[in-house]
Amino acid sequence: MAGPFVLDRVSILDRLGGDEEIYSMMVDMFLDDVDANSVALANAFASGKALEVQREAHTIKGLLATFSDDDGAAEAQDVEKKAKAGELDRLDDAVGNLQRRLHEVANALRAG
């Protein structure tokens, strides 16, 4: 279980070369898409299609990494790997946790 998400604005901005404009754009896009990303993961899992779960987890991994959420990205990577191995039966809790993590990061960015 990942620890609570702490927004490290400095580190994210540093990676974006200190560009506030790009940072704001990324935050807006994340917030616009977060519900859709969460639902896509849940739907992929519900459909039992391992490849789709793997892809959705991969996308979420990238999104969380973009905002320096290393713990969240590691959780997404775990889901991605298990889906790739076809182990969907072991992912029930992990998928739920990942959906919650997405919203946790979204809330921090809104407050941020």
Binding site: G17, E21, M26, M29, H58, T59, K61, G62
Partner: protein, 350 residues
Amino acid sequence: MHTVLIIDDSDINLTLIKALVLKLGECSPVLFDNPLKALEWCRENVPDLVIVDYMMPEMDGLRFISAFRALHGRNEIPVLMITANDQKDIRYDALLGGANDFLTKPIDRIEFSARARNMLSLRTGQKFLADRAKHLEKLVDERTSDIREREKELIFRMSRAAEFRDPETGAHIQRMAHYSQIIARGLDLSPAMGKLILEAAPMHDVGKIGIPDYILLKPGKLTPEEFDVMKGHAKLGYELLKDSGSEILRAGAEVALSHHEKFDGSGYPQGLKGSQIPLFGRIVAVADVFDALTSERPYKRAWSLDDACRFLEEGRGKHFDPMCVEAFLAGWEDVLEVRQRFRDEEIPQI
């Protein structure tokens, strides 16, 4: 302006990379969230840099690179592939599959800028070399063309030098050369061969340079001894032109040596018969005799065209190769056009 193709199924990544590309300056990003559509675009357009994500639903980055590289002229376009940190094996596969470099997610602007700039510099270098190669090729073509023109002019002037000591005219050289080309065309020789005989035929009598004036310019009939000397011009012309590095001069040597051979073996200097006589020699024999007959000279009137044609027809298989006579007569309209174009009283065109 560099065209940068960006392919990623994630909108947020597309937007981020586009923003970073625009920050590079002098770049025009083209975005696709579907690699298949990007590939379609690449069939008609040539990007300067491709940035492609690895994991995409319709076609992954490795397959995209492979398909992209298979397109004509896309083999050297720089490709940056975006992978996650934990995808080391995929990076190896991509390297083998044609990616030039990698970006890892999450994308770091400094790293992105450095790698993208390196790739664009590589592309600029490629374009520079390609432009330079094209420029040099054009320059070589121009120079070669100049040299060939000078070669043609020199050949013409050399042929004229021989003819100046003879009643023949510059127009005769032009006409017989063009008649030779008409025959070559009628024999279905390639356009290149037709051009070669056009340029080589004027040298047929260049050996006359070595014939003494008292024989060459003698108004009356030559004695048998004098005629023997006169016949030497074929060998002299050959000796003058043989072993040249120029294909035209080598063809000229062949024509000089063989244009007085006769199809039935009664010609000179070697008494060759039929197909033993080089084809260019058989062709020039018809062209040269026809023009000599139909031209007026201080010592003779010009034959009528009908009489000259009859002479050629009667000489089939004796003096002339029947195929060459047939090809000449088949190109009669062109023959008349050449006669009209190169008249004796006009200054011949070089």
